[in-house]
């Protein structure tokens, strides 16, 4: 199937995007931020587990698959790799859903950021809203299904900027280690964040 045809067939659909956000809000109404957080994490983990596992002999082979969108980690999103360990999403794959929501429904419900606060304080700091919880949990679960040279892949969130401009970087005490693994400086990170949506690190132990 040609890329253009694939693009045409899989183009985002506002009905599903908006319905899914409202479905999540409905869950939050009944189960609160904690319940929604569990649901989002389960949603993302379930998706990653439903995809085939991957094995690569070398890091270069893995990077090729990642860059060509043949890996689970890049199946749903466009990525660039400023270094061999740093991955960047120029556009958040959830941005279009948010835009459809704000266009057709109104301002984004507060629960989406409240659940991120819950996630940041109880699971891992780095989420701006509910979409980041899905995305970051998916990446961790997907990485568990990828082995490079026999070693399990690891991912670490570095920073994200949402469509409305809100920015979230990991806690300052984690940053030096993460940036070292990414092979970028803090200045590099800030430069990347000017025109991109999400920055994360990939590595093996």
């Amino acid at each position: 199937m040609s890329e253009a045809k694939k693009e045409e067939l899989t183009e985002s659909n506002p009905f599903v995007d908006v319905a899914t956000h409202l479905f999540l809000e409905d869950i939050a109404d009944k189960q609160g931020a904690a319940g929604l957080n569990n649901y989002l994490m389960s949603l993302a983990t379930s998706l990653a587990r439903s995809m085939p596992a991957e094995e690569y002999e070398t890091w270069e082979e893995f990077l090729d698959a990642l860059r060509n969108r043949q890996s689970i980690l890049s199946a749903f999103e466009t990525i660039t790799t400023p270094t061999d360990n740093c991955v960047v999403n120029p556009v958040c794959p959830f941005a279009r859903g948010w835009m459809e929501y704000t266009k057709r429904i109104g301002s984004f419900s507060k629960i989406h950021s409240e659940v991120a606060e819950y996630y940041n304080s109880t699971v891992k700091a780095g989420a701006i809203n509910s979409m980041c919880i899905i995305h970051q949990t998916f990446r961790r679960a997907a990485a568990e299904r990828i082995h490079v040279a026999g070693k399990p892949l690891r991912v670490a969130q570095t920073a994200a900027i949402w469509s409305d401009g809100e920015k979230k970087t990991v806690p300052a005490e984690w940053q030096p280690i993460i940036l070292e693994r990414a092979g970028i400086s803090e200045t590099d990170l800030n430069m990347i964040l000017r025109n991109n949506a999400c920055v994360w690190v990939i590595y093996t132990e």
Binding site: K6, L9, T10, E11, S12, N13, P14, F15, V16, D17, V18, A19, T20, H21, L22, F23, E25, D26, S42, L43, A44, S46, L47, S50, M51, A75, F76, E77, P93, F94, G97, E100, R104, I105, G106, M131, I134, H135, F138
Partner: protein
């Protein structure tokens, strides 16, 4: 990605809450979405149809809706009280395609939910998402008035991703339309429904 994640959860949700539970969830999602989109008012059918064509109505969230203005619905006095509308592409096809390309086949719960809905609510679903869609169209029409009259929506026919079709003979009878008209529409459209004035005195077809 969000929608593909949701598809992967349909099985889990149906295993835990049963297919009836999934139908309840989806019904509420359709209802909430229509409520959140809000009210609209049009002076007459031409202005509603133009708004629809230009993507300004709540129904436009479904994608490209075509107003089949050659298929008007008339009441017992011969006045136009509604039209048939159709979607060239089901609003869930992109999600189904994304799922097939990245994950694989839809979970078996998709079919199970559709079958339960067909048996217990309305025999029109070709996939589990039809549950959300039918409820949405029914509810969204309640928030729209044409010439001061509240609207109603009747789902008439659907064609699924794998080619299976459903035609609602009960709803067709209500608007006095021959099922064969709608069957031929399914050659070119995935979903056909009627939007008409609520409570209109319709002449049922014999």
């Amino acid at each position: 990605m969000l929608d593909v994640a949701l598809v992967s959860l349909i099985q889990d949700m149906s295993d835990k809450a049963g297919v009836e539970g999934t139908i309840e969830y989806w019904t509420r999602v359709g209802e909430n979405m229509a409520k959140r989109i809000g009210k609209e008012a049009y002076v007459g059918w031409p202005s509603f149809n133009v708004a629809l064509r230009e993507g300004r109505t709540g129904f436009s969230i479904e994608g490209d809706v075509t107003a089949l203005t050659d298929l008007a619905i008339t009441d017992v006095d011969g006045d136009v009280v509604g039209y048939l509308y159709a979607l060239k592409q089901c609003c869930f096809v992109p999600t189904i395609m994304r799922t097939r390309l990245s994950v694989g086949a839809l979970p078996s719960a998709d079919r199970a939910v559709a079958e339960e809905y067909n048996n217990s609510v309305h025999d029109i679903a070709v996939c589990n998402f039809c549950v959300i869609h039918e409820k949405f169209t029914q509810e969204a029409s309640k928030y729209i008035t044409v010439g001061g009259q509240v609207l109603d929506c009747l789902m008439l026919a659907t064609r699924g991703f794998t080619g299976d079709t459903k035609i609602s003979e009960d709803n067709l009878k209500k608007i006095g339309m021959n099922p064969e008209y709608v069957r031929s529409l399914l050659r070119n459209y995935d979903c056909v429904y009627a939007i008409l004035m609520k409570g209109a005195r319709l002449a049922e077809e014999d």
